[in-house]
Point group: C2
Chain length 435, copies 2
């Protein structure tokens, strides 16, 4: 159990799969990789801006984001956030985790430009008919095909609905400080704009204006989110694997990878974590899946998927390990009511809360899968709120940088993402790509 700091790594269900000295054998490499991260001596060192971001972000910029969000919540019915990849997954993940499952506390925030579905976009246009709408378009270059198409369609709709001047007042741009097509457009049209720091890549950008503006609009307390990340930045500094749960998580991943556990299943017992699982898949999959290497990232929501992929986890091919995430505090105290007839046989649970039953489902599953041959890592988070979510985001980013460096790859590039684009430009006859 590595439990210094806020998130604990419980490794009791991994001991029978690895030897004690396998982890300690990585200690030197961890120290070397730590230097790459903190001294910028490794590949991709131009993209380390996320490392000290929580403690150094300009407070005035946080206030400007909050003021912009407050103004939006007064002026509009729906905020459409246009972005893909790192300009989409982070905000969506945190919004899904911290907003109520039904209804909402902030402005209605929806997404576009995260794919090329004409059906989705036409249904969105039908939905916003007659509503007061604003757009936050997020793109470093402004020329990425998916968000550019969505922005064109929505801009045309807004110019038609509101006229040029009012439409411009309803468009907020998040892009590079000085370069790129979107910066040029924003400056010319006088759109309100925010900056994507040049030294922070998409999948590490959730705590910048990329994530913060949509989240503030959706009613998330972004100062709490940042305070949690700042706490993580301070906590996760030791190179000692017994004192840094993020590094221990990274090191265990590589120990398991070397033993042939080629797929990691991120498992949460809280359904609102589904979006976080997608964000985590981009972070680790894009950082590590290169040069023929990398742990394949998959995810499940339990107990839902215990009645689905659970069968495979218990008895299928043994190339999987699981990382179980849980929130330990019982924040709802939701009781199971007594029933006179007890037809369902649940009266033995009436002195328990759903949280207690859910926690025992977790313990039961960890035991069962362990006994079935699946190594289990458990990340235990005290509470589900904005502060701890910020902590968790930073925890995973730091663990990912460490894990990728340990596996010998650059944690910050994504060379393979270009290939389908080149083919697509050629098939579509984009000027300069005809053959």
């Amino acid at each position: 159990m590595v439990s210094i700091g806020t998130i604990s790594l419980n490794d009791k269900y991994i001991q029978s799969f690895v030897e004690k000295d396998e982890l300690t054998a990585l200690q030197d490499f961890v120290e070397s990789a730590h230097k790459k991260i903190h001294e910028g001596t490794g590949a991709g060192a131009d993209y380390l801006g996320w490392l000290n971001w929580p403690s150094t972000m300009d407070d005035a910029e946080v206030s400007r984001i909050e003021e912009t969000a407050l103004k939006l919540s007064k002026d509009v019915d729906v905020l459409i956030v246009i972005g893909i990849g790192g300009s989409y997954l982070g905000a969506k993940a945190v919004q899904d985790l911290l907003s109520p499952a039904f209804g909402r506390t902030g402005l209605e925030v929806v997404y576009a430009g995260q794919h090329i579905s004409g059906r989705y976009l036409e249904e969105l246009l039908a939905y916003i008919e007659g509503k007061k709408v604003a757009v936050n378009v997020i793109s470093k270059s402004g020329t990425t095909t998916e968000p550019a198409i969505a922005f064109r369609k929505l801009k045309a709709w807004m110019y038609e609905a509101y006229g040029e001047q009012e439409a411009a007042s309803r468009i907020i741009v998040t892009t590079d400080e000085s370069a790129g097509a979107l910066r040029k457009t924003a400056d010319e049209a006088g759109y309100v704009s925010f900056v994507i720091p040049g030294d922070i890549g998409g999948r590490y950008s959730v705590l910048t204006p990329v994530g913060l503006l949509p989240l503030a609009a959706a009613g998330v307390d972004i100062r709490q989110l940042l305070s949690g990340a700042k706490q993580a930045e301070a906590d996760l500094i030791s190179t000692n694997l017994e004192e840094n749960a993020a590094y221990a998580y990274a090191a265990y991943r590589q120990v398991l990878n070397a033993r042939g556990y080629s797929t990691e299943v991120m498992a949460s017992f809280e359904p609102a974590m589904a979006g976080m699982n997608e964000w985590w898949k981009q972070l680790f999959g894009e950082s590590e899946g290169k040069q023929g290497k990398g742990i394949f990232p998959a995810s499940v929501i339990y107990s839902t998927d215990l009645h689905s992929l659970g069968q495979y986890l218990q008895n299928g091919r043994r190339m999987l390990f699981e990382t179980m995430v849980s929130f330990t505090e019982d924040q709802q105290q939701s009781q199971i009511p007594f029933d006179e007839e007890d037809g369902d046989g649940l009266n033995y649970l009436v002195d328990k809360t759903l949280h207690e039953v859910n926690q025992q489902a977790l313990n039961a599953t960890a035991m069962a899968h362990h006994d079935g041959g699946v190594p289990i890592l458990q990340l235990e988070i005290p509470k589900l709120d904005a502060h701890h979510t910020g902590y968790l985001l930073y925890f995973f980013m730091k663990a990912c940088a460490m894990s990728a460096y340990l596996s010998g790859v650059n944690p910050f590039d994504q060379p393979g993402v270009e290939q389908y684009k080149q083919n697509m430009f050629q098939l579509l006859g984009k000027p300069g790509y005809e053959k």
Copy 2:
């Protein structure tokens, strides 16, 4: 290309990974497995009720489902469907695929009992306050922990809100014809009820009242859904691998599995397929993941995940194959508008629709991933509507039965699902499980 029937299997991006005779070598086994399916000579033969279900379902029962849904749509604001596993994933999948991405055409249908999150359930209870609510509880036994807890809480809420008599009129039960706790409760309390056929397992039950009632309530044309499945039942009958795309899909899966492609990534370029991917994961994962065997089922939505897991697919560890699903007809004709300034450089696309761009993204991705070392199967469906969805559901069920028999396992049991339950009952002190 195997293109007899409605769904075509395009195998051009698999030819460089397998030899022609690898597929034909399975022809005899396919005929033997076909007998197991059609003559009931294999393991799990008691659960073949799904095979002829589309052509034999009682028409009067379809009408009764439609009438019940119509009555609900007049009487209530929200229908809460309580179920887990096969009593949840099918209805959710088809609802997500066929309902608009924003707004809705039918009654509001939401889900409960698919996990043990107290937060989710308390937020649902807050959401329905003051609304007119009905419940459809779906469980063969009535004692599965997750739905039983949700039903208890919602029943208590309804008895409080409406009184005993009216609450009873708002509860619809879908359960076994004669056995189990829920059947007993339904008969005693006089709930309207529907039957889960005894010879159809959960993951094969979407076309029975399990899926049909929630879907009819949500505004899905269930007669079209059934007509598509009936067409598939008639089409997918040949044992010749060149004439049966479902069997060819199953056989290719096992050829790839034998070559060490241990993970299948189901990829769709239509975001509304996300729920169908989850249904597919249960179908194949639970049917095949046993005895240390099975292809691990994962999924992506493109082009969203081309900016996430796309990097891994292109350059990561080579143990993956991909199955790409696409709908070929352009049903929206959504145009990309001209822009005088062309800052985003998209004017070369103004004579194209989003569907055309999306289809070229698919072609571009298939080429790129193929060239990166990933075998690609492509399932081409003419149109996205209820008829073709019914066809697709049956296509996958028949392919799954074939694939599981080819790999030597029982397609219809799920022995591993019990193990976490046993542990959980013991940890919770359920009478009879104390130690």
